[in-house]
């Protein structure tokens, strides 16, 4: 990491905003269950009650505490996004590096496979899988990651091919460096910005996908999520509950995605100093 990264980051509004949001949301994710004084599945309260000191955001039609629902929902969405993003990133980087390094038949086969995956509408597949198999969130996360690695892999492969031919790699080879050395010391660090971009894009996409699927009611209904809350809240739009039931999950989802995007952009700028001028 570059020495002056911390200083530069501190002065970057993108990073400050993103980090503040991420911190806030992170706090909610980690400490959420402590704030949520009620069990989100407890249906014993009076349905559709307005916010009060007992229920800060009131209760929903099933008599559940909205705040507790919200906190659990954020948590589920974030975890799903991060896990999916991480899996997609690891798979994408591995496949991208393998393609770039070995080339030839391996490269060709993997790239054609990734083309097929790119051509397949992943939302449809996901909806079908979710609807027919009712899998656990982890399995769904794996399926989503398995469908979304190709863009990362292609970006990594393209950049790795460039770096592989770059003079400093040629120089390292001349010094007698092994393939493992070049991959770990030259290729992988050089591709760092791509990891961030890839991870952020996938995590964002996964969070959005999770919200969508739950909005469509394709997740286990007992699993609290932001999408599901929005979907339920919409049914009662004619009641005067939109501000305490509908807005909070929408706002949370928006902030969540904003935080991830802001952080990715600012880190990218800092870790690749040559991007500084471009951005």
């Amino acid at each position: 990491m570059h020495r002056d990264a911390r200083r530069t980051l501190g002065g970057d509004p993108w990073f400050v905003t993103g980090a503040a949001l991420a911190l806030l949301l992170g706090l909610l994710v980690v400490a959420g269950p402590f704030f949520a004084v009620h069990d989100p599945h407890d249906m014993s309260f009076r349905p559709l009650s307005a916010p009060s000191t007992e229920h800060w955001l009131g209760t929903n039609d099933g008599g559940m505490d909205i705040l507790s629902e919200l906190l659990h929902g954020i948590r589920n969405t974030v975890v799903f996004g991060l896990v999916t993003g991480m899996i997609a990133l690891v798979v994408g980087v591995l496949i991208g590096l393998v393609c770039a390094w070995f080339g030839g038949v391996t490269d060709h086969a993997l790239m054609r496979f990734s083309d097929i995956l790119l051509a397949v509408p992943s939302v449809m597949i996901l909806i079908l899988v979710a609807a027919f198999f009712r899998p656990s969130p982890l399995v769904l996360s794996l399926v989503l990651a398995g469908l979304s690695w190709p863009t990362t892999a292609k970006a990594i492969r393209a950049q790795a091919l460039v770096v592989k031919k770059s003079v400093h790699v040629v120089a390292a080879r001349q010094m007698g460096a092994s393939g493992a050395y070049i991959i770990t010391r030259h290729l992988m660090p050089e591709l760092f910005p791509l990891y961030l971009i890839g991870f952020a894009a996938k995590a964002r996409m996964a969070m959005f996908m999770e919200a969508s699927l739950s909005f469509l009611g394709l997740f286990d209904p007992s699993r609290k999520s932001l999408g599901m809350m929005i979907s339920y809240a919409l049914k009662y739009y004619y009641l005067d509950i939109w501000w305490n039931w509908l807005i909070p999950p929408i706002l949370c989802l928006t902030l969540l995605i904003m935080a991830v995007t802001f952080l990715a952009v600012s880190l990218e700028k800092v870790f690749d100093p040559r991007l500084k001028e471009a951005l």
Binding site: H2, H168, A171, G176
Partner: protein, 646 residues
Amino acid sequence: MNVTIDQWSVTYRVNDHALLALDEVGLRLVPGSITALVGESGSGKTTLGKSLMGLLPEYAQVKGHIKLDEQEMAGASEEGWNAVRWSEVAMLFQNGPANLNPVHRVLDQVAEPLIQHGRRSKAEATAEAEKALARMKIDSSQARRFPHELSGGEIQRTLLAMTLIMDPGVLILDEPTGALDAITKAFVSRIILDTRDQGTAVLLITHDLDLARNMADNVAMLYLGQVMETLPAKDLLTNPLHPYTLALGRSYPSMETLRDLGGIRGDAFYRITHRHSEKNGGVRPHTHVIGTEPSHENGHLHPKGCLFQPRCTQSIGPCCEKAVQLQDVGSHRVRCLRGGIAMQLELMQVSKRYGDFTALGTTDMTLQAGEIFCLVGETGSGKTTLGMIAAGTLSPDQGNRMLEGRDMDRWIRQDYRSLAGKIGVVYQNPAEAVSHRLSVFDIVAEPLKIQKRFREKGEMRQRVLRALTDVHLSTDTSFLGRYPHELNMGALQRVCIARALVSGPSMVVADEPTSSLDPSVQAKVLKMILDLQIEKGLTVLFITHDLGVARKIGDRMGVMLAGRLVEVGPTVRVMGRPAHPYTGLLIAGARGETIAAVKPPGGSNSRGCPFADRCERAREICFSRFPEMGGVEETRHLVRCHFPMG
């Protein structure tokens, strides 16, 4: 008159100390030829001259033989010497005015030898002296002056007249032109050549390499009282075989060389043998050096090894232990365990093709240890391909490569890392040649890490710091932690040079190392490369399209055209008298002359000369046949052309 000097040793002995001034010197002076004795001061040149005149001081102990024709002069009495001095053997001493008596007119002094030898009466002698002085362009009024009334040049001519007055068979000239201006020097040189042509055997003692090269037939290189090399004078600057001759040639501001001045690392010593007095415990006499170097424990010279070894950049272990004798190498005689300047790299019949495109036609190239070889040529002429084949990063399709006498391809297969440690590579654009995610320290340490040279971190750090010091960069912690984008190009290129040097290579391949630098930075970097080359004795393959740079730093150069070397030779020859029309075109272009109608290089795959369709001298044969390399006047200057330029 023939002079044979055989196994001649002179020791100046004072008390317990003895200075070994000459060590078994063997030399022959032949009538009608000039032998130059060249060496740094303190090498024993003057002692040898004085030996031939019987003028050594009393405390000089001699061994060996000096024969004038068949007459043995070693151990001759003063009378014996007097009989031959001036009449048979005459010497022109250095420090002109000091050799004349200030209270006598110069004419009388010039006449003196004739009178002393009783050959002439005073009047006859004076008349003869006046004639001799007139020949030296000193007229009769000047001849009647006192020495202090004459200029330095006139004094030197007077002395020369005196030396030649008895028409000696052997003439010893000790720095005859040392203090003279160029015109007087030329005049004196003419007289010396005339004297030689009359059948005199001349010993020219000088440190003026141009004088030696232009006047002498043979040259003997003297170092610390030993003859290191005897060679034909024409080879002195362009084809030396002993590292000392090469280094001395580089130190001399010759009109014949273009390269910037180098030097010889370290200092020359005097060899002193001394006997520690009994009470100090030591008794054995042993050789001792003055002007000690830290590498020499207590200033004691290796008693047996090569004298030049401490300053030699190609010395190997046995150089310290084995006595070395002069041995014949071609027309030279060389005192070097390695048989003269070693061969660093030999490329034999290498070639490289990419599909249909011949990047490098069948090419031979050799690099001697410690030389800077510049490869010049147009873009796309295969310079980099040849350079990378030399560096071992690119395998030729055909041909053999030898590095330090070892087969490079086998070496690469067996132990690439040890080979990589022998070769440092510097690339054109320093910003691309380093990973921008590594700090200065990590960049320079990278070869050591890759080659796993050191177990200990501290030792590696020392090596890195030393490499950075070598390239005049800071070694403080904040600099070591800097990243490439924080440095300017000059500093970054020096970091790259430090990286190339850190593993202690014997050869550096530099591919356009200065073409991305601005002129002031380029000057610094070039100067630094020259300094490093002298200090470490690096062999440098310097690839450049800039003939101005090649001219300043190259010992030899090769000109490439369409994947072939078309001309190879000492830089001074190739630049001064290019033999291939293409070289001439390159030089004209570099001079800023506009070139009419640059046609693209025609068929690099055709059978003819690739330059033929751009060449004014081309005739039919040029289009049908590309000639082999051929020598131009000397074997070191080669050209591939049917009609080389004169």
